[in-house]
């Protein structure tokens, strides 16, 4: 995939438009203020749905992390094996008599933890590489973009698969594998607007005033791609939750005593015809998390760039 192609992979709609706004078209975004951003996030339906779902997921993950679950997550109760959902077991129990609701909370925590670390890796490396590639140009850019093209050519999930087998199972290795696979997307999404910003009036003014390159890059350009990065971060979280679940579904997630959503789905495949809730419980958790982060990303995009909302 060459970036020189006539119509490359579409950058998120917010990207180039935001830079126009900053270039001084009298857009209210000139004086954004956190409050208006949050308000417009809450005022569009995507954003609100995203906030609510992500809020639920984070609450569940925190509950899983500190252990405030209805039952100890791994506690087995031989007298309550494969019970259907009821008031004592909200999502039913599995073949060992573990309470699925408690188990899902714990698994969500692992899943969110892996996703956050993965996105932190991809976001930091990808954003810095994207800014550098967009600003410096010439051979630095062509080296970075060439490497990005190569990484991009390996389907991300396959790459994660290779890395996680190479490093062995474990939550940190999963995070590393997923994060590395997502770097190229951040590079591409950030580089586009930076290319446009390089020639923006205030950046050229800064150059003339003799500001150091680092100052220009991180004090002047970075804040202006922050919105793009925020949108992409949310979408990346959705993808990471999905990728983590896929890896553990294939048996390459964190090893057994650790609860993981994908592994719960794969375990359920032999049980689900008689005990549907063993499939439904982890699936609903995955779907809420993935849809939530996606809606939040769409909502952020709409909030940052009102023109994209029309579509």
């Amino acid at each position: 995939m060459t970036l020189a192609g006539p119509l490359p992979v579409p950058a998120p709609a917010g990207a180039p438009l935001e830079s126009d706004a900053r270039a001084g078209r009298g857009d209210p975004a000139d004086t954004p203020g956190r409050r208006t951003l949050l308000a417009s996030l809450w005022n569009n339906s995507n954003g609100r749905t995203g906030c609510v779902l992500v809020g639920l997921v984070l609450l569940a993950a925190i509950a899983g992390a500190v252990g405030t679950t209805p039952y100890p997550a791994q506690a087995q109760d031989p007298s309550a094996v494969l019970k259907s959902p009821s008031f004592s077991h909200l999502l039913g129990t599995d073949q060992f008599g573990r309470d699925l609701f408690s188990l899902v909370l714990q698994a969500l925590y692992i899943s969110v933890k892996i996703a956050c670390v993965a996105v932190a890796i991809a976001g930091v490396i990808g954003t810095v590489a994207g800014i550098v590639a967009g600003y410096l140009g010439r051979w630095t850019a062509s080296v970075i973009m060439r490497a990005t093209d190569m990484l991009f050519a390996i389907p991300a999930i396959l790459f994660a698969l290779a890395i996680v087998t190479a490093l062995g199972p474990g939550w940190l290795n999963s995070a590393l594998a997923i994060g590395i696979g997502y770097i190229p997307i951040f590079v591409r999404v950030v580089r586009g607007p930076v290319l446009a910003l390089r020639e923006a009036g205030y950046v050229r003014a800064g150059r003339v005033l003799g500001f150091s390159r680092r100052r220009l890059l991180f004090r002047h350009i970075l804040p202006n791609v922050a919105g793009t990065v925020a949108v992409q971060t949310s979408l990346a979280l959705a993808w990471s939750v999905l990728a983590e679940a896929s890896l553990s579904f294939l048996g390459l997630g964190p090893p057994p005593p650790t609860a993981s959503l994908g592994e719960m789905v794969s375990q359920s495949s032999s049980l689900a015809s008689t005990a549907w809730w063993t499939l439904a419980a982890p699936s609903v958790a995955i779907v809420i998390a993935v849809i939530g982060f996606n809606f939040l990303g769409d909502g952020l995009r709409d909030a940052i760039d009102p023109r994209a909302r029309a579509r």
Binding site: M1, P6, A162, W276, I291, N294, R311
Partner: protein, 318 residues
């Protein structure tokens, strides 16, 4: 035009070479090798001389660059190297698996495009009506529910309602038993196709809504052309560029998706070959299969770029 194509091909080869290097380096991080994978714990009981002899036999003790060189050599001679565990050429393993994955990919793409384009086009003609709502419902499911959940659900449903188990019979190729083959491919293709259809539907619908109010569309209607001609020859053709972009992207994702779906539906395709070889530390197979997936992805992207110039004459100038 010709030099453009030549440059594209050259840049594709450079990218592929880089991909080969990346894959090779990543796989060398693997703890253990084919010897330890085959012998398991008892590998620890081997004497030093035995370890050296086995490493030599499998070719895993050679220096890094030598291994890489012999792999590249094997790719250019066409036998793609020799599998460490089955001792057959990688080319023959891939030759057996590739058609299955290709068939799955094509079937999924057809299902996905049908769902996406039909719901997208008819939904955009009557926004907010039943077809539109139905289409958007399908797209929420397809985008939000990962393929391994849909797949697992589908397998469970088929097993409990129809007593159909994908693993009960060996895989039949389309030439051996076409009817059985269609049954075996349909459900995995549907699983993947739902996800593709969801993305295609969103793109098609948005692209149609962009052109539906344009002057040329009004002119076409004003000339008294039939509704079908306006919809397909004028509107859909105008919306085709984003639809093509999305098709390319989806085809790329599809290559990764086949790995999971082949696992669920026990199809002996490339994805399943990849997972088994990863577990057996069979480097030559893992390298080559990953490289094939990457090559597929690059070729798809190149074809999409070429398609633009066919669809939209405006892009030819640049």
């Amino acid at each position: 035009m010709l030099t453009g194509v030549a440059r594209r091909l050259l840049s594709m080869l450079v990218t592929l070479f880089g991909v080969a290097v990346i894959i090779f380096v990543v796989l060398r991080l693997l703890p253990g090798n084919a010897v330890t994978a085959q012998l398991g714990v008892s590998a620890g009981l081997l004497s030093h001389a035995q370890v050296v002899a086995l490493d030599h036999y499998y070719g895993v003790g050679e220096p890094f660059f030598q291994q890489f060189g012999s792999w590249l050599g094997a790719i250019f001679t066409g036998n793609l190297g020799v599998s460490l565990t089955s001792r057959t050429s990688v080319a023959s393993l891939v030759g057996a698996a590739l058609p299955i994955t290709l068939e799955l990919a094509i079937a999924s793409m057809i299902i996905g495009e049908l769902i996406g384009v039909l719901f997208g086009v008819f939904g955009s003609l009557k926004p907010g009506r039943l077809v539109d709502d139905l289409g958007r419902g399908v797209s929420v499911v397809g985008l939000g529910v990962p393929s391994f959940i849909i797949g697992t659900g589908l397998v469970t449903f088929l097993a409990s309602e129809f007593h159909y188990f994908p693993s009960s019979e060996g895989f039949a190729s389309i030439t051996q038993d076409p009817w059985l083959n269609v049954q075996q491919i349909f459900f995995p293709a549907l699983t993947l196709g739902l996800g593709i259809g969801a993305a295609m539907m969103r793109t098609t619908r948005a692209a149609m809504l962009e052109v539906i109010g344009l002057n040329y569309a009004r002119t076409a209607r004003g000339k008294g052309l039939s509704k079908r001609v306006v919809t397909w020859k004028h509107l859909f053709l105008g919306a085709l560029v984003p639809v093509t972009t999305m098709s390319g992207i989806q085809l790329g994702y599809l290559l990764g998706g086949t790995v999971i779906v082949e696992q669920i539906f026990v199809l002996p395709g490339l994805g399943r070959l990849l997972i088994t070889s990863i577990n057996e530390r069979d480097f030559p197979v893992v390298q080559t299969v990953t490289l094939i997936f990457a090559a597929g992805f690059i070729i798809v992207n190149m074809l999409t770029d070429v398609l633009y110039t066919v669809i939209d004459p405006r892009t030819r100038a640049s």
